[in-house]
């Protein structure tokens, strides 16, 4: 056990740090610059940032070099994430593609598919969305109904997806469809790549509790996709979906980000006064902050432990730890931020103290998306600990 970084690792860290310093949008590091409010401007801003990331070679360091990545080791990924958490760069426009779709295509796709799709994910030229969920299907993914019928050289797709993040601006949908209803429900699911820009696909944006409209309903009415757009074998999409979920849980580990949020909260408590005394001097606040510090350390250290295990070739189901543990801490941290806001916490937007109101809402989605906290507990109980499976399976 050793927490020191090698010279080589420190050099890598410096390289990232310097690149960010040179390339982050002006004023970003000092917090003087935020995402544009106007949607089109924001899109433009994010597109530009993605282009820069790509040119710098930082768009997907964990991808193989031949597809535009850096073949980064897990340790390098960790260092990259640490540096990212430190500067809190603009969100990556291609995040869904890079973190979720790319690895699936890389793991299950044909050579042609890899060459066709991966480079444009990296450059941000093509945006992706993911179609798992349906109105009656969320946690119970295997009961999905959206139908794809084999019509010789293509599939014809009919049905509906929902909660599809970025569907309204996506070029491609990586989706799961029902191709066979006769067997057990895990069988007969097919993973397809579908062009969003066609007559049979309509999207309808849904307003979220944060007042944003990032996710959508998506209707497929006789939409089609050629046979070569099947990922893995026909009827064998379940395997893809299961692998997918493990990518998602790793990428959702947010303990490094929590550390930065904690530091921001400490700053807030130093600057805000109540009755003339800084919040940070209040004994209750101090104890709560120390408790968060401890939980965040536990999250971070366990994350390091899991990464170390993986580096040594041990790919345990422990990845479930982070998704569940971190999002519970984040939820508590945001609740506490709102409490500390005082009466001003009644305000929204930039007037909300420390942006707490909106963040505390956004955090709820982390406990839902990518498998709810309940589902994570099932996974831990059943796959990590070997408890008997529930009735549903």
């Amino acid at each position: 056990m050793n927490f020191d970084y090698t010279d080589e690792q420190e050099a890598f860290r410096r390289e990232i740090r310097e690149w960010y310093e040179e390339n982050l949008p002006d004023g970003w590091i000092d917090g003087e610059r935020d995402l544009p409010d106007d949607e089109d401007e924001r899109e433009q801003f994010l597109r530009e940032w993605q282009r820069k990331l790509h040119e710098g070679g930082w768009a997907a360091i964990h991808w193989p070099e031949e597809y535009g990545g850096r073949d980064a080791s897990l340790m390098q990924q960790l260092i990259y994430q640490q540096e990212k958490a430190r500067v809190n760069p603009p969100p990556e426009r291609s995040e869904i593609g890079v973190d979720l779709v790319g690895p699936a295509i890389e793991g299950f796709g044909t050579e042609e598919q890899k060459e066709r799709y991966l480079p444009k994910i990296l450059s941000g030229e093509e945006l992706w969305c993911i179609g798992y969920s349906e109105p009656d299907v969320g946690s119970d993914l295997a009961s999905l109904q959206c139908k794809a019928v084999d019509e010789g050289d293509h599939f014809r797709i009919n049905g509906q997806k929902i909660w599809t993040t970025h569907a309204h601006k996506a070029d491609w949908c990586y989706m799961f469809t029902r191709t066979d209803n006769s067997g057990p429900k895990h069988h007969g699911i097919t993973a397809l790549i579908v062009d969003m820009d066609q007559e049979g696909v309509t999207t309808d944006r849904i307003r979220q509790i944060t007042d944003e409209r990032e996710f959508n309903q998506v209707y497929f009415d006789d939409a089609t996709t050629p046979k070569e757009n099947v990922l893995n074998e026909v009827d064998e999409g379940w395997e893809v979906a299961m692998r997918q979920l493990s990518f998602e849980r790793i990428s959702l580990s947010q303990s490094l980000d929590l550390e930065r949020r904690f530091d921001e909260l400490v700053e807030f408590c130093k600057n805000e006064t109540r009755g003339g005394t800084p919040l940070v001097e209040d004994p209750h606040v101090r104890e709560k902050l120390a408790e968060f510090d401890t939980r965040i350390q536990a999250a971070k250290l366990t994350y390091f432990r899991n990464v170390s295990k993986q580096m040594n070739g041990d790919l345990g189901a422990e990845a479930s730890f982070g998704k569940l543990y971190d999002s519970e801490i984040a939820a508590d941290l945001h609740r506490f931020r709102v409490k500390l806001g005082g009466p001003k916490a009644a305000l929204w937007g930039d007037d909300s103290p420390n942006g707490a109101a909106k963040d505390s809402l956004a955090n709820i989605s982390i406990r839902i998306g990518g498998g709810t906290s309940d589902i994570q507990r099932n996974i831990i109980g059943e796959r990590v600990l070997g408890l008997p499976k529930g009735d549903q399976e």
Binding site: M1, N2, F3, D4, Y5, Q9, M75, L78, V266, C269, K270, V280, P283, R286, E287, L289, A290, E291, D293, T294, R295, Q297, A298, A299, L301, T302, F304, R305, V307, S308, K309, M311, N312, E318, F321, L324, Y325, D374, Q376, R377, N378, I380, G381, E382, V384, L385, G386, L387, P388, K389, G390, D391
Partner: protein, 373 residues
Amino acid sequence: MDFTLSDEQTQMQESVRDYLESEGGIELARRQMDGEDVVGEVWDGLAEMDYPALSVPLEYGGLGDDLLYLSLLFEEAGRVALPGPLPETLGFTVPLLAELGTDEQKGQFLPAIADGDLRASVALYDDATESLPEAIRMEAEPTDDGYRLDGTKTLVPYAESVDRVVVPARTRQDTGYGGITLFFVDPAAAEAEQLDTLDKTRPLYELTFDGVEVSGARLGPVDGGGDALERAIDRLNVSMCAMLVGGADEAVDRSVEYGKQREQFDKPIGQFQAVKHRIADMWLDTEAARSLTYYAAWAIANDEEDARRAVSAATAYCTEHCGELFEDDIFNHGATGYTWDHDGHIFLKQAKTWANLLGSPTEHRRRIADIRL
């Protein structure tokens, strides 16, 4: 950076586990609870396996391993709630002797500990209502060839089964860790009274020193033992955390086994999500507690800047969360869990005891806040 145990460490841990199981596992704790004193027997066995030598420096006949390595031993000891002053002797006393002892003291005591011929404990509290270091009040008067100790120490673990105790006393009027001098004395010189305790695997005593003259017993500088004492208490805390983590791991295993086996409403209870999710949360807390403990042990062993904060984080987390976790284990076992025969209460009572012994979770969080904010 690599946060994994080496093969050697893993092997050591497995061999300790096998050994303790072969010696009766938790039955040793039960015999101690029933009033038998098994400490001598436990210690002789441990000595045969060379375990007491683990943290003793090489030049004094030990194996020279650090606190992290030692924590792995404690973790296994905790899995069976092993009776005996293991944290006190190996986690607390050995490093303190190595740091403060004169050549003569080291030569006298360290090889004896390594050989299993000497066990030690700590007499920290003068007052069972106040926490450390304020509770340290005993005064030591200089005499012609040593010091005279007057006063009562309480909550002293295993006082009648050890050969020496570390006794901190004030040689200068001061607060906190100021003005403290440490003594390494034979508890037989004091009058010992066993206290009625919550955790009966680890007996606690009141030791009355009635003008006891000690010579050659001073450990370290006059008036200046406080810093070393604070660090030693930190190591003791980490040692206890490691024992709690071992117990917690065991509790998760027990709940899982029972969850698979016990049927109600025609199903194994582990199939009910109320039970399954509770066990998943127990596992989550165990992993978190383990990460904090390993890191604290590593940070101490490597003199890291954030060692104190890491110790307090581990202590606050382990005592609080493992305590709840042991209650959940009992709950998962229904009324069976509520019986003396079921082992759950043994772990719970330890956790409840330790939760206040070396600083309550609140006090540790205060310490973290003072460092961090």
